[in-house]
Symmetry: C2
Subunit: 388 residues, 2 copies
């Protein structure tokens, strides 16, 4: 009798926000970066992708459904992930002939985000991490997250960092086949669980320039870029790892802000220039600088990815000071919680007014865990997607 069973496995995976930025590929096919990067994984309570991987001999073709909509899976990135994972499964099947031949079955991947996609919220990182983790669960692969990160990286570079919780580096590697371009845990979330993050969503408008084309324009035309990639970032990576090990927030904040600024600086040094920050982003930078000035030390750190949204990191012990200082600008915004300003860290109305006008939503979150295997399936026993 042919095996007509529908096999399923499910996972959730987190978003990560880099503090040392990935920008530039040395190999666009394999997503090999020009420099290492480092990120904080954010809590899945607030931002997560939930993905079920299913396979069955009864399926006709590989299929991916994201938030209820069928996606094209013919792209090289999707195909690379499917091919690599099938190859690992095929090796298990060769070694143990009693295993079902899942590697030969078409796949059905069903994925749901609990946050709006394409709002510059790193959805592709969570998406590819969840896809790889879910299929690895389905295939019962023995590979650890670092080994799987090699595959997730081929889907979306920064996805490799979402296979771990806590503080995660992506080591650029030197091999041309990318075999040593992998994610490593710098420290688990439990090492420094006090790290919180406020995401200020500036606008849900689409990005001007996609990060994929933007970063290659920078590599091709910025005359400052190679100095950043080859000289500046390697030093910052070491300092940042040390700061995380020592739970040294001031150094963490200093490097985070500097690296965000430098990433946007090389975007501006691109020809034609790439702008992700707008006047509202700049107002958020000014507000954080002012909070730190008033506090007399760095208690908050901004960082911006390839879009205008601000992510502000701070420690739980400074929540009242940081959020209190911003309260006048963000009161009433969706997702914000009112915090009474503390007397010693208040900033002038002029810093807050642009936030009032430009921030449409806030997500208050914190450092969190890596992918978690879950029972809840998005595919039923007949192989049909379940809409939540």
């Amino acid at each position: 009798m042919a095996d007509t069973k529908v096999y399923t496995a499910s996972t959730t995976a987190p978003v990560n926000i880099a503090v040392i930025k990935y920008w530039g590929k040395r190999d666009t096919k394999l997503n090999l970066p020009t420099n290492s990067s480092l990120s904080v994984t954010l809590s899945q309570d607030d931002l997560r992708t939930h993905t079920t991987a299913a396979c069955s001999s009864t399926f006709s073709t590989d299929t991916l459904i994201l938030n209820g909509e069928s996606q094209d899976v013919s792209g090289a990135r999707q195909q690379a992930c499917f091919r690599e994972l099938r190859s690992l499964r095929a090796a298990l099947e060769s070694a143990n002939s009693t295993l079902p031949k899942l590697s030969t079955f078409p796949l059905l991947i069903v994925s749901e985000n609990n946050f709006p996609t394409a709002a510059g919220l790193a959805s592709s990182a969570a998406g590819f991490a969840a896809l790889v983790r879910a299929i690895a669960n389905l295939y019962e692969l023995p590979q650890n997250p670092t080994e799987l990160s090699r595959i997730a990286r081929q889907g979306s570079g920064s996805a490799c960092r979402s296979l771990f919780g806590g503080y995660v580096s992506w080591e650029q590697g030197t091999e041309t086949d990318g075999s040593d371009s992998l994610a490593l845990e710098v420290a688990p979330a439990s090492h420094w669980p006090q790290m919180k993050a406020a995401i200020l969503v500036v606008s849900a408008a689409k990005k001007g320039v996609s990060s994929t084309s933007g970063m290659q324009a920078t590599v091709a035309t910025s005359e400052l870029f190679s100095h950043r990639a080859n000289v500046v970032v390697p030093q910052r990576m070491e300092k940042m790892k040390q700061a995380i090990k020592e739970r040294d927030f001031e150094t963490f904040a200093d490097l985070t802000m500097k690296d965000s600024n430098q990433f946007h600086a090389v975007c501006l040094d691109t020809q034609p220039p790439i702008f992700y920050l707008n006047d509202v982003s700049r107002a958020a930078i000014r507000a954080v600088d002012e909070i730190n000035k008033k506090a007399g030390k760095k208690i908050a750190a901004y960082t911006f990815d390839a879009g205008p949204n601000a992510v502000i990191y701070y420690l739980e012990e400074n929540e009242q000071a940081v959020l209190g200082a911003l309260n006048g600008g963000l009161e009433g915004v969706e997702g914000w919680k009112n915090v009474t300003a503390s007397a010693d860290v208040s900033i002038e109305e002029a810093f807050l007014q642009p936030l009032k006008e430009g921030i449409t939503r806030v997500i208050l979150t914190r450092v969190g865990e890596g992918p978690v295997r879950v029972e809840e399936s998005l595919v039923d026993s007949q192989g049909q997607p379940i809409r939540k």
Copy 2:
């Protein structure tokens, strides 16, 4: 009998707008730069400082009156200019005892701009160039503009370039006393008189960060800056001089835009970051990029100094194409002249709308001559300032 005569001499001096930017000092006292720079001198028909230098044994103290208001002359920069010029005059007087002892008389400097000061329009460059040139005229100094540029540089770095018309370099020099940090004529205005410039005044609001403090913050904190100063700019200087010699506008435009972007990139790489461009500036950049794209070649080049105002260089032969494309966004703005758009270079309303909202004034001008000795005096024979 004591000499009680009031001696006077007058000059006008132009504004210059750099195409390879000066940003960073290796010596803050002498205004010695970390890199060479290159500028276009703009026509005095549109932007000029008119200055009269007077001296008399009857004056009680050195005095400077700018636009009718007394200025402090005790600052090191003013004092350096007065001291150096007096020293050159004293040498003449020693060699020829029949000369009146002007070097021993207090100075009265009266200066008027024909444009609003401090609107980011390089008024200090024109101001110090006029001051040095007027006193040199008063003292009948034989020194040529390059020799005088050593003195003007100590007043305001970029002032040294305003002692020449046309296309002017400021060679950074290597001597610690600044003796070889001088302005040179790359080409006179007559070599390439077709160069025109549209200055889009974004806002008359004061600068956020003065260029003097801003550039030293960049030198101290930007990790990209030294690569720009030591590696990138020297190459660009050579290419830019060649482009001007060959009247190669496409290369001129390419380098001008790249260097403006890189200057603002190192400002952004400064900690805390320095922002001079705002959303209106960015809209001007986008509009120029779009004009060049539609034209199929670079016919316009933007550049921004330490403020949000855009300066757009273009050749006279492309005036209709460039101004015509911008007409929809600038019609009715003070200083603009309506130009019918040409059919082949028109840009979409989306590029023009932010200009409509953000540009308060336009100055249409062109490459022009250096300082010109004029008869019209701003000091009367009694040594009293004349208000125009």
